[in-house]
């Protein structure tokens, strides 16, 4: 690893400047919605805008205090995306609907939870102690929607929600974080074993069969999600997350080959056996056939028409008809934004995701412990893969699946999970960019073997 020769700079002032610009984008979007729909700037508008601004600035203040060296562009990017999402959801609300305010409430809750994560966790390396607890938690979270009593039953063909009082919650969203923690902890401890043992076939070195255990487990989990929860999107997300993390940990292309083979095999069988998968694929390949349009692909096609209507510069916020598309404010929010902001605006949003992803990987490159590297890679890749699956589905590049667009789509669980991811990434980037921290972790309660926390990559040149 090349050495950082400059003194670390917190760059919090850069962050506050960018944050103000991001808030201008979010609040400006909300304002344009009001202007175009010829509503006056009522007290509601000022109340919502000031809440968002205050929450973002409080978050910034916490970073100043707790994670001084955190990446300065992550927070502005996320606030801008979240602001645009809020404006769009607010704009799509029919009179009497409350989705916009609900989304704002969830944004505030999610930001508060992310702040709590940064405040109380202090160091991401502590999470490594929870490797197997995370695995158990993931299993529990994935099983919850199947348990009668807690389960909210089958909504829109998928069994992924649970009922919490008056609200519904999607535990699978949080499971992607706990799974990333488990994979990172497991792979950072067992990397050498997986890396060194194995036989070479041609140019690829294949792992031993017993080291494939976790991979088979991950595959079974994904298939289980697909069969029992009928959730194609999460299934792809979990398995993709695992392949990428093991590839990053071992830099062996053979894992990707095996993983893709398993996906193709599983996908082929699933498309033959399960009607809901078959229907999705049919709605993707033959979307414009009238029979398919009537019972399946209507949503995608309407979204495509909407985006075509928007063209290069869009119809302007509040002036299109994205509300014609079913689920315009959640699954299809990218199509709604594409219609009203046009290709130029949509590219700006995709670019924001790309920048967020690169910042996550930058934190992974910079941090010195193997666990943090893997966790940052996994989390930022999960966000990126989710974007790919959703935006690819909406633009008919791949079959449409029921994943949420991070930070944009209406839905509390997704916001909560993604803000926690942001909190973790900020914390990892704080250790990556800050001065080298040589103090060991406080010893854990219980039997922690000595040396397990020694960072693998901490190399000091004499």
């Amino acid at each position: 690893m090349s050495q950082l020769s400059s003194t670390p700079k917190p760059r919090r002032n850069v962050e506050v400047a960018l944050l103000l610009l991001a808030l201008a984008v979010g609040i400006g979007a909300n304002m344009l919605v009001g202007v175009d729909q010829e509503k006056a700037f009522d007290s509601d508008f000022w109340f919502q805008s000031s809440l968002l601004a205050v929450a973002a600035l409080v978050f910034h203040g916490v970073l100043r205090f707790r994670a001084k060296y955190a990446d300065p562009v992550i927070l502005p990017l996320v606030v801008a995306l979240n602001g645009i999402g809020l404006a769009m959801i607010h704009r799509l609300d029919a009179p009497g609907d409350d989705t916009g305010n609900n989304q704002l409430r969830w944004t505030l809750i999610a930001m508060a939870v992310a702040i709590a994560v940064i405040w109380f966790l202090k160091d991401h390396r502590i999470l490594r102690r929870f490797t197997f607890i995370s695995l158990a938690a993931s299993a529990l979270l994935l099983l919850l929607p199947l348990i009668p009593g807690i389960s909210a039953g089958e909504i829109l063909g998928a069994r992924v929600w649970i009922r919490l009082g008056p609200m519904t919650f999607q535990p699978g969203e949080v499971a992607k974080i706990t799974l990333a923690i488990f994979f990172a902890g497991y792979l950072s401890s067992n990397r050498d074993l997986i890396l060194l043992a194995g036989r070479k076939i041609g140019p690829l070195q294949f792992p031993r069969f017993k080291d494939m255990g976790p991979m088979i487990t991950a595959w079974l989990v994904s298939i289980g999600v697909l069969i029992f929860q009928r959730d194609l999107g999460s299934s792809v997300l979990f398995f993709g997350l695992f392949i990428v993390m093991i590839y990053v940990a071992t830099s062996r292309i053979s894992w990707v080959v095996i993983g893709l083979a398993l996906i193709l095999g599983g996908g082929f069988v699933a498309s033959r056996v399960f009607s809901h998968v078959e229907q999705r694929i049919d709605g993707w390949l033959n979307a414009f056939t009238p029979e398919v349009y009537e019972n399946g692909s209507r949503q995608v096609i309407q979204g495509l028409f909407g985006m075509a209507n928007g063209g290069l510069v869009g119809t302007g916020l509040g002036q299109g008809r994205p509300d014609l598309v079913p689920f315009a404010n959640s699954d299809m929010i990218i199509a709604s934004l594409g219609e009203e902001l046009g290709l130029i605006g949509l590219f700006a949003i995709v670019l924001m995701y790309l920048l967020l992803f690169t910042r996550g990987f930058r934190a992974a490159l910079g941090t010195r412990d193997a666990f943090g590297k893997l966790l940052a890679c996994g989390l930022s890749f999960a966000v990126a893969l989710q974007c790919f699956v959703v935006i690819g589905g909406v633009t008919r590049l791949i079959p449409l699946t029921g994943l949420t667009t991070p930070f944009l789509a209406a839905g509390g669980s997704s916001l909560l999970a993604n803000w926690i991811i942001v909190g973790l990434l900020l914390m990892i980037s704080h250790t990556a960019r800050g001065p080298v921290d040589t103090t060991p972790l406080p010893p854990a309660k219980g039997t922690e073997s000595v040396g397990i926390d020694t960072p693998t990559e901490a190399v000091k040149h004499p």
Partner: protein, 160 residues
């Protein structure tokens, strides 16, 4: 509000979006490189004055690359192992690259890995520890050719 104002606001918003993106890109331009040294070149005189540790040490003399690993003491004495680009696991376990038949070595004892032009040794939490010269390893350290590494009763050396 007139049609013209609304159109202006519409384009103004798209512009604002891209202004945000360009500001972010220019803010992160400076730390896109993993090692700043390569990008920034030599630190300026002012930076050195402010942070004395930035002053570059004179370049170390070119080192000979290690090409093989030799066991110089212990049960496997005389064994040599050519060094490639992949890491080497040392220990008693069967999956180790160099299986040490040494009762004082742990199953997965230590790991030798290349980074840049040098080899580093790292203890994998062994019971009896790994010694580089006479120093017990607490973190990964570079191994220069000719410096003995002791694992249990085995001593290995890197040779050019």
């Amino acid at each position: 509000m007139s049609e013209l104002t609304i159109t202006a606001l519409r384009f103004g918003f798209l512009l604002l979006l891209w202004v945000l993106i360009f500001s972010i890109v220019s803010a992160m331009r400076r730390d896109l490189m993993v090692g700043r040294k390569a990008a920034a070149g030599a630190p300026t005189a002012r930076q050195v004055r402010k942070n004395p540790e930035l002053a570059e040490a004179p370049a170390p003399p070119a080192k000979q690359q290690a090409r093989q690993l030799v066991v110089v003491e212990g049960p496997l004495k005389g064994t040599t192992l050519p060094l490639a680009a992949s890491p080497i696991l040392l220990g008693r376990a069967q999956e180790a690259t160099l299986v040490l038949e040494d009762d004082y070595a742990s199953g997965r004892h230590a790991r030798l890995f290349p980074q840049g032009s040098r080899w580093f040794i790292e203890d994998l939490g062994s019971t009896n520890g790994t010694y580089l010269g006479d120093q017990q390893l607490t973190r990964a350290l570079p191994v220069d050719p000719g410096v003995p590494v002791r694992i249990g009763k085995t001593v290995i050396e890197l040779r050019p």
